[in-house]
Symmetry: C2
Subunit: 456 residues, 2 copies
């Protein structure tokens, strides 16, 4: 436990910012990822300014106290889980949109700005912030940057890294540095902005973000294509690619996901098909692209929704929410592997085989446009620890298979705490060592989110 | 000078790869950037394999010999200039396209593959490699990655970093590591791929590159809009932005650039206008986007080329070549600053004022879609050292002004050797120090392209 005098020093240095109530400690102890070992922080700091963050980190360095920073806690890999003896730094109150420059097509935000709020603010200028993780209604830009969040529109617009131009970062010792530039292009020195993006709070605390905005599309077309089964729908993904049409959204849902959506929302999706491909095109070519996609899917047996139907839009919205109600735990784990696009069908066939062999349930959704799959494996809690072991075996096998096919253990959720056990399966000892040494450069005392993101 | 026995050891270890002929030493002593001090390498190694590179670097580490790696030597910042006592490592013979996967939409190449050759090879699959530096006909993918090269199409498709998925890198001690993934998305560990991209050979030698390919556009429309003067043309850039239409190419050429093109190619561009805006749209919406752009430019006094005219295409090609014939020296320096888009007009007005005050000549082209300007300042060689000093003063002032407007010293060419004197104007001592310490992690003996890219 922390020395009460040390904590008192923090309270005195940051009046009104520090909480040690049981409610706060519990609430800020975790994100949406599976919890391996329940751990409470020693305090929660709700920063209101860059100076608050600097004061906290100077204190943490002085007393060697770990700091776990977080935005909304919407992550699903345990990257914001409390670790032993840590202070949780919440940036949710630093939620000012500092600047929107419609002509420069950039915005400057504090880390606690909610993704959807930024999008609402820039929409009146005909602009959008493209990265759209499913949690966009409540996740923060700071958290999105810390995890290099993906989303539905990445297929066309790229991931968070591709929209981040500059960062203000408080280093472990409290020093404030600025990386990057306000311009779209810039190659002065090493790309520290990209290095910070996705580093999950282990290299510094992001306190300011300059993002590139994109143009709100002039038109949007959405298609819902129902197929008999998953392999046929996945063949549709390849057919769209072979037609060389770039959708903005290309989501693949399997039959069990349709069942789950029906159960939660009273829809009748599963009755209409064994697998659903949701496609959105946008921009001046949206109509022609939708036509080309329809053409590519003809002959594959798809039943495609009427052009302009509201249902397709509603389905995109359902898809965005398809994880929302399910907090992962040790009996239900949503994966985040990615494989090269051509491997979607063999990979999902392998997943189904694994689920059968290990006696676990499986449903799969995929950001099919970039090969990023979210298989969810689960067992009944009532089955106890043995079922949990079967689940773990299935998870391990699914991750190894993705790697065998040229994939990655995490497409967009981050390694956090939960996926660290797989990192060495993907990366060589030399690469793991390089990362550990980079971490040392930024955080020699290892106080920034220790035990996350990398293996050190 | 190098100990002959040490050099003999290298020749023996890499039979047939090492040259010390005067012709080779001279030819490989520099790239296209201004030469501050003529320096010859002690040897040139033309590697044919990853093993060759590893053997060279093991030898270099053993004997503490600097290694300057290069592709085609098309860089314009002196990043590949020889430094005292160095071996130049040419990767131009490692030019195999290892793999093209049309369904995965990726290619794997050796570093010496010429950008245009990769594009030709993937075009038959309906694909393209998007980054297109003006040197694309002869620059190599390895060099493009080392400098995080930009180009004309970045406005829509991003810079080199946005197309690089994975790298094979030989570290200073000869260790081979792989970073990144074959998938479009992936967030396992720190983004070492982005860190290597643009590091100009100072962190490792890139020996293998996996790139993401994009779809060859279904249609391309090109407009050439002549304006009376530069401010009007720059107003056109903002008008296109405000119409929220994303061109794939948006190039701005001033009157003196038109004069220079006329002189070199016998055209009559300058007679037709004082400034030229070249716009290309592509994809399914290309026609509608071109119409929208035409609409945005109406009323701004532009004379716009006929739809579908061959001339507009020819002008894009001329623009791509507009630097080709001019190797920079100490009497002619092409800059590479970028400013936020809204600052294009005030910045160019400031440049013209500087040119007048310092008594130097000026012409300006800009990748206007992302605010990246290439002003070229020059004086007559016959005017001697005093003119050179005036040139230097104008350059310094132009860089400082770009920074004052929120810009960067280099949008796409890299810091190399020539721009190091400005790096500390853009980046704080803390950021410079972080970079030096990152360099130490990768290259503790400082043998990889020392004296380039960062200030250490």
């Amino acid at each position: 436990m922390i020395d009460p005098a040390v904590l008192e020093e923090l309270v005195a240095a940051l009046p009104g910012r520090v909480s040690t109530t049981a409610t706060d400690l519990a609430q800020y102890s975790r994100d949406q990822g599976p919890v391996l070992r329940e751990t409470l922080p020693v305090a929660v700091v709700r920063a209101r300014s860059v100076e608050d963050v600097q004061i906290l980190l100077q204190w943490a360095t002085r007393h060697d106290v770990p700091v776990v920073s977080r935005g909304a806690g919407s992550g699903v890999s345990g990257g914001a889980h409390a670790t032993t003896g840590c202070v949780v730094l919440s940036l949710e109150l630093m939620d000012r949109i500092v600047e929107i420059s419609p002509d420069d097509e950039i915005a400057v935000v504090e880390p606690g700005v909610v993704n959807a709020d930024l999008n609402a603010a820039v929409a009146q200028h005909g602009l959008m912030y493209a990265p759209d993780p499913a949690s966009y209604r409540w996740s923060t830009i700071g958290g999105n940057v810390a995890t290099n969040a993906g989303g539905l529109r990445c297929a066309k617009y790229g991931v968070t890294r591709d929209s981040v131009l500059a960062l203000d970062v408080v280093l472990a010792d409290g020093t404030l540095v600025s990386t990057g530039h306000r311009t779209f292009k810039g190659v002065a020195g090493y790309d520290l902005t990209a290095l910070m993006t996705g580093s999950e709070g282990t290299l510094g605390v992001i306190v300011g973000i300059t993002v590139r905005l994109r143009y709100l599309p002039q038109a949007v077309h959405t298609l819902a294509a129902f197929f008999d089964d998953f392999p046929q729908a996945a063949a549709g993904v390849l057919a769209i690619g072979r037609a060389r049409v770039q959708p903005s959204i290309l989501e693949l849902l399997d039959g069990r996901t349709l069942e789950a959506l029906d159960g939660a929302h009273g829809s009748d999706l599963r009755r209409r098909g064994g697998s659903l491909l949701l496609v959105q095109t946008d921009g001046y070519g949206a109509g022609a692209e939708a036509d080309a996609i329809r053409g590519a899917l003809i002959g594959l047996g798809a039943v495609i929704s009427e052009e302009g139907s509201e249902e397709a839009e509603r389905l995109i919205d359902l898809r965005r929410h398809s994880r929302g109600d399910e907090v992962d735990d040790l009996y239900r784990v949503g994966e985040d592997v990615a494989v090269p696009k051509s491997q979607l069908v063999p990979y999902v066939a392998a997943l189904e085989d694994m689920a059968r062999r290990h006696g676990v349930k499986l449903k799969v959704v995929a950001h099919a446009g970039d090969g990023n799959l979210h298989p969810t494996f689960w067992v009944e809690r009532s089955e106890g620890p043995q079922a949990q072991e079967r689940l773990e075996s299935a998870l391990d096998e699914s991750v190894q298979r993705a790697l065998d096919l040229g994939g990655t253990i995490t497409g967009e959720h981050g390694v956090g705490q939960y996926k660290r056990r797989w990192l060495a399966w993907e990366q060589s000892p030399e690469v793991l060592d390089l990362q550990a040494r980079l971490k040392q450069v930024f955080d020699p005392s290892n106080i920034l989110n220790p035990g996350k993101a990398i293996v050190s």
